[in-house]
Every structure is written in structure tokens, then in C-alpha cells.
Amino acid sequence: MKFLSEFRDGRLAKGVVSQIHRRSETPARFMEFCGGHTVTIFRYGIRQILPATIEMLSGPGCPVCVTANADLDKAIALAQTPGVIVTTFGDMLKVPGSDLSLQEVKAEGADVRMVYSTMDAVHIAEENPSKRVVFLGIGFETTAPTVAASILHAEEKHLKNYYVLSVHKLCPPVIKALLDSGEVNLDGLICPGHVSAVIGSRAWDFIARDYAIPCVVSGFEPLDVLQCVDMLVTQVEEGNSKVEIAYRRGVRPEGFPEALRLMHEVFEACPAQWRGMGTIPDSGLKLRSTYQHFDAEYAFDIDPGPTREPQGCICGDILRGVKTPLDCRLFDNGCTPEDPVGPCMVSSEGSCATYYLYGRNSGR
């Protein structure tokens, strides 16, 4: 695939890896915020080929994993409401809420449909005028603009039966909260590539400036991640802390204005609950009052019942980077991808699922 396969080339990787080995002398701990980066790192065995001076840590950038049970319970309650079709990305289907997952509720007869795009959800609303179609809006700043676009589209079509349950989240506030907690000491941050494509690399300036942590925006192919690590290592060795873009084909300092504009037109920041990190101010998105008629929170009287957190699950600690899946007593011992207790084991980019699939018994 053009502009994809070339960035997986083994021969080219050797060159970057050589350079990393040559340059890296100071022990350094880098965090990849984004679940997609975690998958790339494990899938290609990147930890194995990096020098021992570098320690990699996975962060909370998995929108599925950080969705709180209370929020998922709302979606499940909506699915159990007569006359409602809940549409969702595949990622959320198997995540257990306090009692059930969307997939289990579907098996009990609820109308839950998986969609690849919000465009599909809007079509379902058009084709089912007597039903109310709710789209479960998960994802960060990459996804929120697409959901905003779907709302504007629904507005233009005068659709009266399309709603969004927004549990969208914003990345910079949670990274700030993580750094403020003092729980993790980082020497570098691998910044999310597609979130940055939308919000721009300047969104990370505050990290370099206020926390003196080098930041490099990375793409998702193995060569991208290696290049990013190389740039972080260079900053560490030179004693720098600035924001750089490794993913130059996809990211600009100012981001992509139109996507941002649409996102801000439909959504505004609000406090949001992050699994394992509690409520973080201005870290979520809710629909503005002008678009309230599309807001599932307003249109429905949602009663999800009491929230229960799964016993023994340390997803929260894992998301904050203070524990690894191997530290969890439930890991592969009651909690598996087939029978998950917490979301980190369900999401294909959750740390636990990644460790389970690629790293069990491999030590690193």
C-alpha cells in the first residue's frame, strides 16, 4: 500500500535502529500515549531491537479503555430502551459495563448495530424514521470532528431521530493530569499521530515548556515509531526539550483547521470521567446547546442504575503507567480477551490485550 508499506521496510529499519544504538547512552524512559503506537511496538517487536538504555511505557491513549463504566452503562441502558437503535464502532461491543456489554445486551434482543463510520449511523437513522438512532461517540480529537460532521449532516437533512451520546475525550488535559500526578517520570513522550494531525503539534508545546519533557509526534508504522525514538534519544542526549514532528507527511504545527473548526462548532469542553484517573476538568466533549436536539443526554431520560467497578481490576493503574498488565493478578487468570474483566483486555490496543497477544511470557 502506497505511503504505508514503505514504512515497514526491514532494510530501512536497520538504518534507524543502528543510529539509535549509536546515539543512546543515557537511560531514558519514553511513554507512548497512544494505543495504536502500543500495537505497532508489540506487533513488530520494537522493544526487542531497541538498546537496553531505553525503557518503553504505555499510556492511557486508548479511548475504549478510558471510558468509565458509568458512561458505558448509559449506552447499555439506551440499548435496552424500546424503539432505540444503538450504533457503535466495533471497539465498544465487547467491553463489559457494570453488568453487561453491548454485545450481551444485543444477544438479549436489543437493537445494537456495529458501524464503520458515523455516515452509516446517519443512514440507519434515515432508513428507520420510526426508531431513534443513538451513536455512541467514543474517541479523541481524531474522531470527534467526524462525529461533528455527522451531526451537521443530520441537521442539513432535518433528521429528527439521530442522536449522539458523547463520551469523547481530549488528549492534552489527560497528559497534563498524568504529569501533574507525579506518578510517572518520563524522559520523552511519543505523541499521538492522528490526534496531532487534527490539533497540531503546537498542542504539546506546554509539555516541553512546563515539564521539560521532549515530545515527538509519531506516525503508526514501525519506521515512524523508530524515527520518533531516534529523535527523542537525540533530544535526551543533547539535553533538549522541544516539540518535533517525525510524522511530517501527516502532521503540521497548526493541525488541520477545518476539522478543528467543525469539532468546536458542535462540541465544547466539559469535565469527563477517565477510568483510573477520576474526573479531569475540560477533558471531555459535550454537544453545544445549539445542537442539544442531537444530544442523547437531553433527549433521553437515561437511568443506567448503580455503577460497579470490577473487583481486582487494575486497568486504572495500567492506564496511568504505574503498573503493567503482568502486575495484575487477574491477567490470564480470570481475565482474558475471551472473558474480559476490564476494558484494557477487550480493546485490541489496550495494554492487557496487547501483552496477552504478543508479549505473554516474553518478559519485556
Binding site: 530501512l12 467526524t146 501527516g250
Partner: protein
């Protein structure tokens, strides 16, 4: 996170485009990238183009990797 892949725009109709992603084709929305043209590569996430890929930068990055690879090969 944010699975998004490069796609080549083959044709545009209003705010939608037919794109080619390595042999499979799909209709996507250009609502977030109204300035995209036929022949552009866009980055597609959940059926929307969220960005226009900078082909020049892509080639420059690959050139850089190639230089590093050659240097590493010469060392051996």
C-alpha cells in the same frame, strides 16, 4: 488509536469521494477536507478524510531512511 490510512482520491462528487486504498475502493466524506483534489492522498479515519497527506514530506522521510540504511550497511 485512531486507525487512519492513506487513500488516493479517484473522483469527487459534492462532498464525497471515491478513494482507492491499495486495491479496495470506498466512498468517503471530504467534509473535513473540502480542499482535497483528485490525485491527492488523504488520511482516512472512519470513512472521513481527516487530513491531506504531504507526499513531498513522505518521500523526503523515506530518502532519509535510505541514507541511514546505506550508512549502516557500509559500516558492516
Amino acid at each position: 488509536m485512531c486507525l487512519a490510512i492513506p487513500a488516493l482520491i479517484k473522483s469527487i462528487e459534492n462532498e464525497e469521494a471515491d478513494v482507492d486504498m491499495g486495491g479496495i475502493t470506498r466512498r468517503i466524506s471530504l467534509r473535513l477536507t473540502p480542499q482535497a483534489k483528485v490525485g491527492d492522498y488523504v488520511i482516512v479515519h472512519t470513512g472521513y478524510a481527516i487530513n491531506i497527506l504531504d507526499q513531498h514530506e513522505a518521500r523526503e522521510t523515506l530518502k532519509l531512511f535510505d541514507q541511514l540504511a546505506k550508512a549502516a550497511e557500509e559500516e558492516r
